[in-house]
Structure formats: structure tokens, C-alpha cells
């Protein structure tokens, strides 16, 4: 009986509200959506080149969060369209004092921390991948320079492979 009571309480409990200092917070999401709605290309992608309201735009994007630095914790929010074509915009925000601040918009297949979670200047290196033609992929690396994430370099994977090959000789 007591177990059933516990279960019913659990089921009736409201879902935990995400902290406002995360990418899940309603206020943060609204601010990020507002910022991206103002970008012609991002809005054009989500709205398929047609006019659409901010509410429609908000319904067309999704958010995910990454930890850019562990201590003290710095969070990054990555905002992408729900409908993913083979190339898509990703809005990258850093949360500063719970305020999302747009760093840049990357257009490509995707943007995020490197799979091996490489760190430069205490922050995760971000890699944005793009396919400019069927056989050419390129990766753009963004590093924290103490003030902002800046593009360190862009290399095609062919170039990178050639570098690896040269280095191994």
C-alpha cells in the first residue's frame, strides 16, 4: 500500500523545472530563439524561406547543452533546427551569469565539442564540420582565446590526413 502511495505521489509530482542557468530554461531559450530569429539565414532556414512568426520559429528549433569548462562550470548552448537538412545552421551561445550570449552561427553538418574533448585555454575545443561537395569534408576548429571562441583554422579532411601522413614519416 505504501509503495502504491509513493508511486502515485511520484507520478503526480510536477516535472522538475530546469534551472534558469541551463539551456533548458524557458527564459534562456526565449532569448536564444530571439537572437537567432534576427539572423536572416537562420530564420530563413527554419521558416523555409518564408515569413514566419517568432512562435513558429521557436517551435522549429531545439537546444542541447555542453559543458565547456568543468570548474568553474561554463555551459554552452547549441541551438539547431528540428528539421535537419544535409547542411544546417547551429547557433552557439555561452551562458554568462545565466545570460545566453551568442558567439557565432556555424553552417554545416554540425558543431560541438570534439569527441576526445580536447581542451585549449581551459575550454573545450569546438569542431564544426561541413561538406562543401560530395567528397570534401572540412573541419573548423574554434578555441577559447580568453574572451571569446575564435576560429583557429579550417582544414579539409584530405589536408589533415596529408599532415598526419607527413608527420608519421
Amino acid at each position: 500500500m505504501s509503495f502504491l502511495l509513493f508511486l502515485s505521489i511520484l507520478l503526480c509530482a510536477p516535472a522538475a523545472t530546469p534551472p534558469e542557468s541551463s539551456c533548458s530554461g524557458d527564459e534562456a531559450r526565449a532569448k536564444m530563439a530571439d537572437a537567432l530569429y534576427r539572423d536572416d539565414d537562420f530564420r530563413g532556414y527554419v521558416c523555409e524561406g518564408k515569413k514566419c512568426s517568432l512562435d513558429e520559429f521557436r517551435a522549429g528549433v531545439e537546444y542541447h547543452q555542453e559543458t565547456l569548462r568543468a570548474k568553474p562550470e561554463v555551459l554552452g548552448c547549441f541551438v539547431e533546427p528540428v528539421n535537419k537538412a544535409t547542411s544546417l545552421p547551429t547557433g552557439f551561445f555561452m551562458l554568462k551569469h545565466a545570460e545566453p550570449e551568442l558567439q557565432f552561427i556555424f553552417v554545416g553538418i554540425g558543431l560541438g565539442p570534439m569527441p576526445d574533448h580536447r581542451v585549449v585555454n581551459g575550454y573545450e575545443v569546438l569542431v564544426g564540420s561541413e561538406r562543401t561537395d560530395p567528397g570534401t569534408w572540412s573541419d573548423s576548429y574554434y578555441v577559447w582565446n580568453g574572451k571569446a571562441y575564435v576560429l583557429r583554422n579550417t582544414k579539409t579532411r584530405g589536408e589533415r590526413q596529408a599532415e598526419v601522413t607527413r608527420a608519421s614519416r
Binding site: G44, T86, S87, T132, P134, Y149, V150, L151, G158
Partner: protein, 735 residues
């Protein structure tokens, strides 16, 4: 099989596909070149068509499909000698002739994948001019063969005939019996056109759509006295359901299921959540023909169908209901209106039809004695003409000089008054002058099967299963490609490479295009190929090179339109019902529970072709609304091709769309391969807005100062648009 009429003209804006076909294939009046018999009941194995005006004169005669030239005869120079054998009856008859042998595919065995190949011949006679052709030459659909000529003094005429042998009538129609069998499902080695359901008597029809887990709604009707037939036809994005008595008379008014086709995957995902992919096949074909299992195997397929009064809901997947398609050349029984009937009159060497199937149609008073008057009256009846057009008849060819006396022996014994010897000789000489069969040696017996040519074209235009050769032709030889700030020509593929790719991919491509209703129209095919070729480098790239370092690794690109991101993989795996792998043995893909290296592609040489194509068609069907099929139906203009480019590569301004040059150029090229556009020049001019440089360029402010991003301190970069005009190469892909 890609087929076109022998006269190719663009459709008028207001014209339906059927109306267009009727206009470009105007068949002679009954008794004057109609199929399969004349007023005198002589077998006539083809139809006489009048070449339509094309703005410059009369449309040339063109090959209806890719072929090898089996026979060519240049026309005899016109003579004014009244005794010339070609001056017979009311005037000159041209004897220019081309015979083409077509070998193509209409499907494949679902288990073995062996292609369902078919061989048939098209005969073009009474040509006044013949192109420079010789036996053994390869010709391609829409190639000009010559000019229509005269028949008994009437100009601009073409006798077109389509014939095949016993083995190929079975391959083409799926049977050798007179009528379709209804005791089991129809053929699965070819499925196209409408889907048919044979519903035995005693089936219940409900008043509303039954819901899972709820009591069945009240029964509206039970067909206790007779079997019914249902026909499901895809019309644009909808499906139309019609009900028939087995004699072909309709029951009630057709019911339209809106968005049935465009929403196929979404509907299947809702209705068959445990097996959406198999659900797509159930809704599309009426049965599951692929390898994905339906769960549960007896899942119902409720459809609203017309009844005599109102409509009812019936489970089209119920035991006892058998499923067919137009590929079965349905006839159901001898009375089914416009049903396809095989008429085997091979045993009679007579030029006249005495076949009971034909006689029954024409014998007005059904006294088993067909009079000339009855024949003439009935052959003018549109309903009878409709029935005759759907007879597939086996009888001796009209064009074998060695059988003339045998075939027309009756003239000397039965004709009243009997022809004088000179009259018969003049007839014989005329008939012999037009014969070619012995010289042609096309490789089939002189007694063979004949189809009504226009109905054959109409019927097989629904079958867009591509042979390896047809698919190879879809890959261009060369294109112009932007490099830096200039376009230059690049080789895409020589024929050997194109054919190799086609052989490797055709089964998977055809299966997928048929499943997702992309192979319903040639415009849908052209749009799909233009985008998939641009995405895959013409069927080369199926994995993302070096993707292991991408932020979304290990869920990097796989497939012809590449799946990426774990969410994309998860959605697709759920759709396909891929079996879960043990996370402990395959921890790399624990987030999705299946192994995309094994099930889609591990490399560009180790891949599952079916699944690589399926990812592309799944994306095409579901990415956004309207989906790829709906967007393809909008048209075949450059703007439509650009719209599909945005659909696939992202709704960006043109300069941001990657590979826009290849996407648009491929589409333009494919119009000449897949659609009925006639190649008039070696190139087609394309003017379009795209990036002016393949690399992003620095941005400057209006005052000329660099536009610096205050956060990064670096100058902003972007693609700048410009208007390009290029001449797209149309060089056909040929051996």
C-alpha cells in the same frame, strides 16, 4: 522500363497524361488500321497513327524505348506506275520500315533480386524516310527513326506494332492463361500502377474505422452474394479507392484518401508503430514484399471503400483477400470491362480471326454467327473498342510473305464474288511488297503475341523500374564545376563506370523508389536522382570520410543522403526496426542500440546498398512537409529544382547551398534522359544565382573598412552571390 510514344510532343497545360497520349497517338478509325481486327475480321497486329503537327511540319517517328535495331528497310522511291505493287487500292503506300528489339527490366524477384527482364519488338512501317540506321545499331528512346509516310494515298501515317514471344508475354503480363487467377496474390517480381484487392464474398464492411483495443463498429454491409474488387490508385499525393463487381461494373463513387501518398511514412508510423517500414509496404502495395517484417504479421489495413450506398471500412490485410497490381494485367473474368485478356489464335493459319473471345464481343445477337454487318457495327462501338484494345493476341504476323497464300486461302474459296487471278495476284504482290519478316529474322517466331501499341505505352508508362542501362544513362558524362571563381569541365563518369555503378545500385534504387512512391512519375525520379547524385557524388560516397573526429561522431554520415547525428540514427533505426545489438559487445553505438557500420555503411566499399538508398528515400519522404514527393510534383522548372536543392541541403540563400551547380546541372541533364524533352543541342544554357567563389570571402563595410567581429577580432567571411550563365553539357551517356 522507360517508354514514350512514337511521336513526342510536349503536353498542353490543360492536358491530362491520358489526353496527351490520345493526342500524340491518334489511332485510325475502326476498320482502317485499328487493333486487332479489320471490318473483314482480318487480324491487324498494330495500329495506324497519324503523325501530329509539331510546329515545323509533322512530328518525326521516334523510338519508343532503348533498343537494338533488328531490321531497316529504306522506303521504295515513289512510282506513278499504277501497276507498281505499292500503288494499290486508293494510292501509294510507303514501305520504309524499322524493327527495334527492346530488352529492359520491369522488376525483380523479391527474394533473389534477379531482374524481371522482358524482350519485345516495336515495328514502324510505312515510313516515307528512314534515318541512317543499320541492323545492330543501338538506338535510344526518343531517337528519330524517320518520317511517317503514306498508306493507300493517305499521308503522315505510321503502322506501329508491338510484339513478343511466348516467354516474354509471360514476363510482361505475369501469366500465360487467358484471365488472371484470383486464388493467390499476384506477381511480386513486378508491381506498378494501381493496386488491386480481390475480396471474397462474406467480407464485413464496418461503418467506421475500427480502433485497436476497442470493440468493432457496427457492420454496414456484408457482400454475401458476390466477390468484390477494390482498386487503389495513387493520384498526386492522395489515393483513390474504387469498388467493382467482378464483371468490372463500378460500385458507388470512388473514395479519396487525402494525403495517403505524401503521408505514407507518417501514416505507417502512426498505424504500425512496431514496424513502420513494413507498414509503408502494407499501405503502398497492400502486402509486404520487402524484408522488414510486419508486427504483428496480421496487422489490419483498414481502408474506406465505396459501397452501393455510402462507404464501408474493410481490412485489406484480412485472410482471403488477395492483392495484385497493374503488373498482373488484371482481367478477373471474361466480362471484366477493359480487363486484359490473352487471346491465343496461334493454331489457325487464317488471316481472319475466328477466336471465340473476339467473336463473342462482336456477335451482336449472340447467335454464334458473326455477320459483316454485326462486325462493322460492333467495331464502331466505343465499349467494344475498349475491350479489344485490351486483348493481347497471338496470331501469324501480317509481314511474312511465305504465308500469304495460306493466310488468304479463304479469299479464293469464300469471298463472293471470287477474285479473278489477276486481282488476287495484285493483292498478293502488294502484300508481299510490304512484308519483311523473312529478311528481318528478328529472332522470334512469325506467330507471336501482339499488343495494342497505345495501350502498351499507356500501361508500361506506369512502370518506372529502371534497367541497368537506363540507370547508367542517368549519370552524366561531364559537368561544369565551379573552382575558385571560374567554371571548368570535369568528367563525371565514362560509360563503363556509369554502368558499373548502375549494376551495383539498380536493384536497391528501384526497390526503394517503388516503395516510397517516387517511381510514380518521371518528374519525381528526376528530382530524386538530381539531389541524390549531388549528395553522393554519383553513387560513390556512402560514408563521411574522416567522420570519426566530427562532433557528432560516431553518428557521422552514412547512406546516399547521409544520416547524421544520434537523433537521426535513432529515428531511422526505430522506423526500420533494426535489431538491437548487445551494448557490451558494441558499446560504440549504445545510444541507438544497433550497428550502422554493419547495417548501413562501414566504408565506401563495404555497405548495404538497400539500406543506403532507403535512408535517402526516408529522408526524402519525411524531412519536412511538403515532402520530396510533393515538392517534385510542383513541376520541372529550374525553380522547382532549386526548391528541392534547398529541401535537401537546407533552406539557405542560393549562394549558401552547397553543390548547387551539380544539383541544377544534373536535373537539366536528367530531363533529357527521364522526361520527354528532346535534345536539340549539345548544351542547355543555365542562368542561376550562386556563390561567386568556392571559398568564403572577407566582408567589408560600406565605407570599405573590414567588417570585424567584435567578439573574435577577426574579419567576417561569407559567400557572395553572383549570377552565373553556363552551358550545361548534355552529352548522352552511351557505350
Amino acid at each position: 522500363m522507360l517508354l514514350s510514344p512514337p511521336f513526342v510532343l510536349p503536353p498542353l497545360a490543360s492536358e491530362s497524361t491520358d489526353q496527351h497520349l490520345e493526342r500524340v497517338m491518334t489511332v485510325g478509325a475502326p476498320g482502317s488500321g485499328s487493333f486487332p481486327v479489320s471490318f473483314e475480321m482480318n487480324w491487324h497486329g498494330g495500329v495506324h497513327l497519324t503523325a501530329p503537327p509539331d510546329g515545323k511540319g509533322r512530328a518525326p517517328v521516334r523510338a519508343i524505348a532503348d533498343a537494338t535495331v533488328a531490321f531497316v528497310r529504306k522506303p521504295t522511291a515513289r512510282s506513278s506506275d499504277p501497276k507498281h505493287p505499292l500503288n494499290y487500292r486508293s494510292g501509294w503506300t510507303d514501305d520504309g520500315c524499322v524493327v527495334l528489339k527492346h530488352e529492359t527490366a520491369i522488376g525483380a524477384d523479391p527474394q533473389s533480386g534477379a531482374p524481371t527482364t522482358v524482350v519485345f519488338f516495336s515495328v514502324y512501317l510505312h515510313l516515307a524516310a528512314v534515318s541512317a540506321l543499320k541492323s545492330g545499331d543501338l538506338v535510344y528512346r526518343k531517337d528519330a527513326l524517320g518520317a511517317a509516310g503514306s498508306i493507300y494515298g493517305t499521308v503522315n501515317q505510321l503502322h506501329l506494332e508491338i510484339v513478343c514471344d511466348d516467354a516474354n508475354v509471360k514476363a510482361l503480363t505475369g501469366r500465360q492463361s487467358t484471365h488472371s487467377a484470383v486464388t493467390a496474390n499476384g506477381r511480386a517480381d513486378a508491381i506498378y500502377g494501381s493496386i488491386w484487392f480481390f475480396c471474397p464474398f462474406g467480407t464485413s464492411f464496418y461503418q467506421a474505422a475500427p480502433q485497436a483495443g476497442k470493440p468493432l463498429p457496427p457492420v454496414a454491409f456484408t457482400n454475401s452474394a458476390e466477390a468484390f474488387l477494390f482498386k487503389m490508385t495513387f493520384v498526386g499525393g492522395d489515393a483513390e479507392f474504387a469498388t467493382f463487381h467482378v464483371d468490372g461494373n463500378p460500385i458507388g463513387q470512388p473514395v479519396v484518401a487525402p494525403n495517403y501518398g505524401y503521408g505514407l511514412v507518417r501514416n505507417a508510423t502512426t498505424r504500425y508503430p512496431k514496424s513502420p517500414s513494413a507498414g509503408v509496404e502494407l499501405l503502398r502495395f497492400g502486402r509486404v514484399v520487402g524484408t522488414d517484417p510486419l508486427s504483428p504479421a496480421n496487422a489490419p489495413n483498414w481502408a474506406e471503400v465505396p459501397l452501393a450506398t455510402g462507404t464501408g471500412w474493410v481490412d485489406l490485410n484480412a485472410p482471403g483477400i488477395h492483392r495484385f497490381s497493374d503488373a498482373d494485367f488484371p482481367s478477373w473474368d471474361g466480362n471484366f470491362r477493359h480487363g486484359w485478356v490473352l487471346v491465343d489464335a496461334a493454331s489457325s493459319p487464317d488471316s481472319r480471326s475466328k477466336d471465340p473471345e473476339i467473336i463473342r464481343l462482336l456477335d451482336l445477337n449472340q447467335d454464334s454467327k458473326l455477320t459483316p454487318r454485326e462486325a462493322q457495327q460492333q467495331l464502331n462501338d466505343p465499349a467494344v473498342q475498349g475491350a479489344l484494345r485490351h486483348k493481347i493476341c497471338k496470331f501469324p504476323t501480317e509481314w511474312d510473305a511465305s504465308t500469304i497464300d495460306t493466310r488468304f486461302a479463304w479469299m479464293k474459296t469464300e469471298l463472293q464474288p471470287k477474285p479473278r487471278p489477276a486481282e488476287y495476284q495484285a493483292f498478293h504482290d502488294h502484300a508481299a511488297a510490304l512484308c519483311f519478316w523473312q529478311g528481318a529474322q528478328p529472332g522470334i517466331d512469325g506467330v507471336h503475341w501482339h499488343f495494342h501499341p497505345r495501350e502498351f505505352v499507356r500501361h508500361f508508362q506506369k512502370c518506372l523500374w529502371l534497367s541497368d542501362n537506363e540507370l547508367a544513362q542517368c549519370i552524366p558524362k561531364k559537368q561544369l564545376q565551379l573552382s575558385g571563381t571560374a567554371f571548368s569541365a570535369v568528367t563525371i563518369a565514362k560509360y563503363a563506370t556509369a554502368h558499373q555503378h548502375a549494376s551495383q545500385w539498380s536493384l536497391a534504387v528501384n526497390r526503394s523508389l517503388r516503395k516510397y512512391l517516387i517511381a510514380e512519375t518521371r518528374a519525381r525520379l528526376a528530382h530524386w536522382f538530381a539531389q541524390v547524385f549531388a549528395e553522393s557524388g554519383f553513387l560513390h560516397w556512402v560514408t563521411e570520410l574522416g567522420g570519426a573526429n566530427a562532433s557528432y561522431a560516431p553518428y557521422y554520415g552514412r547512406g546516399l543522403i547521409q544520416l547524421t547525428h544520434s537523433g537521426g540514427y535513432k529515428t531511422y533505426g526505430d522506423y526500420r526496426g533494426f535489431p538491437a545489438t548487445n551494448p557490451s559487445t558494441n558499446p560504440t553505438f549504445s545510444a541507438i542500440g544497433w550497428d550502422p557500420d554493419a547495417l548501413i555503411a562501414a566504408s565506401n566499399t563495404a555497405f548495404n546498398a538497400d539500406n543506403c538508398v532507403d535512408t535517402a528515400s526516408f529522408f526524402w519522404s519525411t524531412h519536412t512537409t511538403p515532402n520530396g514527393q510533393a515538392r517534385s510534383d510542383a513541376g520541372t522548372t529550374q525553380a522547382d529544382a532549386f526548391g528541392l536543392s534547398q529541401y535537401v541541403n537546407g533552406f539557405f540563400p542560393p549562394q549558401v547551398v552547397n553543390g548547387l551547380d551539380a544539383r541544377l546541372e544534373t536535373f537539366i541533364y536528367l530531363k533529357y534522359v527521364l522526361l520527354d524533352d528532346i535534345r536539340a543541342a549539345a548544351t542547355e544554357r543555365l542562368t542561376f544565382v550562386w556563390r561567386r567563389n568556392t571559398k568564403q570571402e572577407p566582408v567589408f563595410l560600406p565605407n570599405g573598412a573590414p567588417d570585424i567581429n567584435p567578439k573574435t577580432g577577426k574579419q567576417r567571411m561569407k559567400f557572395f552571390p553572383t549570377t552565373w550563365t553556363i552551358d550545361v553539357p548534355l552529352d548522352p551517356q552511351r557505350p
